[in-house]
């Protein structure tokens, strides 16, 4: 095989791993959409907020220190300790659960039986509020997130694949962080699917997604279910936030990864967890291969920015419900 072929394979592998990162974000959307029919615009900001909180706790930042300093004229910033990563993650999960409870109490509870568009608007408001709140709490500067996952090219993969190509081929260049992210995402997705298919709470989640009134009549508390769903979505946001944050720093642009999730959702379908994964992979591989084969040689590059949306638009024409989305057929 010529070296070019193996470069192509390397692009493909990197595309798959980028796709996993997109899937992680898309997953949060799907969970909430399935359980409550809400398109949660705030999912990206939730990832940012979770990552900010994790860094803040880890490095011992004092919450609201800027606000406190401005009001009292003090100059406090740090507690002066570092919290071990594992404990910081547990505390952050606790905060995301608390966030879910607050969202349910302050927003969802009052909007039961409202039109989807109203709920969507509420999540837009929530997104902007949370963005400001996160900055106020932890400061707006770019933070480095280190959860102990090594970064950079994986030497082992590179050396053990070098024999594939000829003289010019040095083995696949894969980022270790991406490899970790792939494994973590795979575990996360498998457990979420098993949870929703084979446990009573999972069944209750699906029941609420399907019909609120019927769910109430069999004894399911909508509010409890919503808190659970938003907590899980918060947890997924944390995982996505950690992976993206470790990659490119914790900063405002992290919340924009939500935009990358949109084409993934169009492709995979808004209601399918496997769809979010497959959609993410197709987009990841598609944009990398398109750039490698067509974009860079013929179109002057930078096609990755728009390829996903174009693919999603073309896809919408042929399968509006997405690859795995439910096709709604009403009996007349």
């Amino acid at each position: 095989m010529p070296a070019e072929f193996w470069y192509g394979v390397e692009v493909l592998l990197n595309g798959l791993m980028a796709g996993v990162m997109y899937s992680l974000v898309a997953l949060g959307f799907v969970l909430i959409f399935k359980a409550s029919g809400i398109f949660n615009y705030a999912q990206g900001v939730m990832a940012l907020f979770a990552a900010q909180t994790l860094v803040g706790i880890q490095t011992g930042l004092i919450p609201f220190s800027h606000l406190i300093n401005a009001m009292l004229g003090t100059k406090i910033h740090h507690f002066g300790w570092n919290v071990p990563t594992f404990i910081a993650i547990l505390i952050t999960i606790g905060i995301m659960v608390l966030f879910a409870i607050i969202v349910e109490k302050l927003i969802l509870k009052h909007l039961v039986n409202q039109e989807p568009i109203i709920l969507f608007m509420a999540t837009i408001g929530l997104a902007y509020f949370l963005e400001g709140f996160g900055d106020l709490m932890w400061g707006a500067e770019i933070k480095k997130l280190d959860v102990g996952i090594p970064q950079g090219g994986n030497v082992w993969v590179e050396e053990s694949t070098a024999f594939l190509g000829g003289e010019d081929f040095y083995g696949f260049y894969l980022d270790t962080l991406d490899i970790y992210a792939t494994v973590i995402a795979a575990i996360l997705v498998t457990s979420l699917i098993l949870f929703s298919q084979y446990t009573k709470t999972g069944r209750a989640l699906r029941a609420v997604a399907d019909d609120h009134q019927a769910a109430l009549s069999v004894g399911i508390s909508l509010r409890t279910i919503w808190v659970i769903v938003w907590s899980i979505a918060g947890f997924v946001a944390l995982v996505a936030g950690v992976m993206w944050g470790a990659k490119s720093g914790v900063q405002f642009s992290l919340s924009l990864i939500a935009l990358k999730a949109l084409p993934v959702l169009m492709l995979g379908g808004f209601t399918s967890i496997p769809g979010a994964i497959i959609g993410g992979l197709i987009i990841g591989v598609g944009e990398k291969l398109f750039e490698f084969l067509i974009g860079a040689p013929f179109l002057g590059g930078a096609t990755e920015n728009w390829f996903a949306y174009m693919l999603a638009l073309i896809f919408l024409i042929f399968r509006p419900q997405g690859l795995f989305g439910e096709k709604i057929i009403e009996r007349v």
Binding site: Y198, K200, R206, A214, A215, S217, V218, G219, I228
Partner: protein, 273 residues
């Protein structure tokens, strides 16, 4: 024999009717300026098939919604198992042992028949969310136990062949049966059926009547049902409440109700002069 006797009694076909399970006292329900239910009182006794009938718009469904907590009446009291019920959420009432079906079928259309019926067991399952997440020990045992209960109901209602089918794709009559199964599997003390035979053909109606009687007979479930088809109701119920324009116009055994002049007027119309 007087069906409204205060003591427990045995019906002609050998079923035992016990004391009062549920009592509605002077219920009044308004929606803005419209009074859907006007000062209605009646009781439901343990083990009986109690029907609420009346022309369209008489307030029958509203009454059922009051019993299961979708509506809260402005006036009156609801007594269940000898206790006055405070303002409760529908899901809390479901957990107390009151299950129901809906006039327009409210099933989880994307889920299979088995999954739909399993949701009826949710309130009976106790394992915590963490042990469910790892699906081991109590959670696994519980799931298997509940599954057995669900399969028993599936056999009982003769819907084995559609166990895995998504209910959205099933014909209307079968969907009604699945919905009955979901209510039944919760082992309710009181089962509310909102027009269980609406939109069915004669054969399906006969099937459904048979299932309702079998449920009452085999499980001893107390049943309150709504119908506007007089014929069916009279055959299967022990006592009947008749409503018209939100008010109660008759209450008694099918025979008593049939000969009640007000009921005849409401159903056949009356000449106003």
């Amino acid at each position: 024999m007087n069906a409204i006797a205060p003591e427990a009694y045995t019906t002609e076909d050998g079923r035992k009717i016990g004391g009062v399970v549920m009592e509605m006292k002077n219920i009044t329900l308004r929606f803005g300026g419209v009074t859907a239910i006007k000062d209605i009182s009646f009781d439901i006794r343990e083990g009986e098939v109690r029907a609420i009938i009346g022309p369209n718009g008489a307030g029958k469904s509203s009454m059922l919604n009051v019993i299961n907590g979708f509506y809260h009446p402005q006036e009156g009291e609801v007594w269940f198992r000898g206790e006055k019920r405070g303002p409760m959420k529908p899901y809390e009432i479901a957990r107390q042992g009151i299950a129901r079906t809906f006039q327009n079928i409210a099933l989880f259309k994307g889920m299979s028949t088995l999954d739909n019926i399993m949701t009826g067991r949710l309130t009976k399952m106790k394992s915590g969310i963490l042990s469910q997440a790892i699906w081991k020990g109590p959670a696994e045992r519980e799931e298997i136990e509940q599954r057995e209960k669900a399969e028993r109901i599936i056999d009982f209602l003769e819907i084995q062949s559609i166990r895995k089918a998504p209910v959205g794709s099933l014909p209307y009559g079968l969907q009604k049966r699945v919905e009955l199964g979901r209510a039944l599997v919760a082992e309710p003390e009181l089962l509310l059926l909102d027009e269980p035979m609406a939109g069915m053909n004669v054969e399906e109606k006969e099937d459904m009547s048979r299932f309702i009687l079998d449920v009452n007979d085999e499980f001893g479930t107390t049943i309150a049902l709504i119908e506007h088809d007089m014929g069916v109701v009279m055959d299967i119920s022990d006592r009947v409440v008749v409503m018209d324009y939100g008010a109660k116009i008759g209450d008694g055994t099918p025979d008593e109700v049939r000969s009640n002049q007000k009921v005849i007027d409401a159903y056949l119309g009356v000449a106003h002069d």
